[in-house]
Symmetry: C2
Subunit: 279 residues, 2 copies
């Protein structure tokens, strides 16, 4: 069993002390090989964000550049890591290049930028904010097992041969038109979405399939959850939307992926960082 010294910061929105306690209790009881340290910035509040941009960037750089940590785990998504990604990357040192960076949803901006700049290992994975509920803890355990070298929480379509990335759909659309975008040639691109109307999902697929450079291995559709009710039915399911745009834009549609804002959200190490999932 590998141990990991885990630093936690909040590049987007804040968590509370009770979120932190819930995670610390879980680690103490079930993962005593790990240590977790919450950067005080996790609890800072500045309007929508976990502190001003400069504070969030500084906390991330503190965690990334500290040789006493192996893993930087993002506490929570929400919105805001896009505002600090480029600045934070520019301050990262040699120690930052040795680390695992884990999170998902809005933290995809950072996973993308780190992957683009070949800094450490980006991993789409459940986050500390979910540790307060029994269902949420199932996902959090998946991340903690991955940090310990246990690959049982991997997304089941990962074959150990095709590189992959996983993103929230809106986040990837935003990333794809920005300097944060990594080269995803030959990659399986997995996308998930939460709390968006199906017409908005359709619109995002229009955008994504326009912005992606040619040459990806294909798209897999994660969970599309908490779709708000509209005044009328959209007329296509989320999977039909993905199939429509992939067919129209000449991108292989590869089927579903077990990622999303659900308890089944699995671990997707970016690139080729994992063995094949044992499905």
């Amino acid at each position: 069993m590998q141990m990991s010294r885990i630093a936690i910061c909040a590049p987007a929105t804040p968590i509370t002390r009770s979120h932190a306690e819930a995670l610390q209790n879980l680690v103490a009881e079930e993962f005593p090989e790990h240590s977790v340290e919450f950067h005080p910035q996790c609890f800072a509040v500045d309007g929508h964000f976990a502190g001003p941009d400069a504070l969030r960037a500084e906390a991330l750089v503190d965690c990334a550049n500290d040789p006493n940590f192996d893993t930087v785990w993002f506490a929570k998504g929400g919105y805001g890591s896009n505002r600090i990604a480029q600045a934070a990357i520019s301050f990262m040192n040699e120690h930052a290049r040795q680390k695992t960076y884990a999170g998902f949803s809005d933290c995809g901006y950072l996973l993308a930028a780190l992957y683009r700049h070949d800094i450490g290992q980006s991993v789409h994975a459940p986050m500390p904010v979910s540790a307060r509920s029994e269902r949420g803890r199932e996902g959090v355990r998946r991340s903690l097992r991955w940090f310990a070298g246990d690959t049982s929480g991997l997304e089941p379509s990962l074959d150990g041969k095709t590189p992959a990335v996983a993103f929230n759909l809106i986040t990837l659309c935003m990333v794809a038109g920005s300097p944060l975008m990594p080269d995803v040639t030959d990659h399986v691109v997995m996308v998930e979405e939460v709390s968006e109307h199906l017409y908005a999902v359709d619109r995002l697929f229009f955008q994504l399939t326009n912005l992606l450079e040619p040459g990806i291995a294909g798209i897999r559709l994660g969970a599309i959850t908490a779709v708000p009710e509209n005044d009328r039915e959209f007329g296509q399911s989320a999977e039909e939307i993905a199939q429509y745009w992939c067919a129209r834009m000449g991108i292989p549609y590869l089927g579903r992926a077990q990622i999303g804002h659900t308890v089944d959200n699995r671990v997707v190490p970016f690139g080729l960082a994992s063995p094949a999932a044992a499905t």
Copy 2:
């Protein structure tokens, strides 16, 4: 007083017969110089859309290519004109190049694509769907006056010297990363938004300022209306968001614009198609 022979189609979502009657009554009573004809496709329904993609594209091409009309007016936004824009453009003939095309919101995909391909005159303007309410009719009259050569409904910052475009913010973000995007070098770019959280507006400005090519004259912010309540305050106003991203990305912020999903939505002919507004 100029007359205009106006064809109405619905490239996105449908209207009802009562919307059509309200507009026809308004035209008969106040603008007898104009004629309006609703394409039957306006009332077609296919899930979210005013008929399947092929039907919507065909109706738009019918209206555009018919020498018996001077103006094509989009009945309503909603979502969907992005799915048909490129196909419709590819079928347009010489008559289509003589026309005015008017609408806004989701119909911005078409205004953009027409402007890119130098087909007729794109005009951001209120739409027929608003003719049922007294407040909505104020906007509709602005469009009908513009079709009659009366420039009193122009957006007041238009100076007759600086080319301009006007868009819904999400629509422009989607357009900007797609083959529909026109060259907006040296243009004032006006953007408005409705029913989006302020964090989403911030995210859209991140995207827009990344996607816009350098060299625009600047951004003007239209109305940001019907912002849903969030669990906490964002911490910046919509105008502060626009100012933040413009400053960060080196784009001049030029102040407010009178466009939006409001009764004050003014007319913005794309490019340099109008004289200075009489403010």
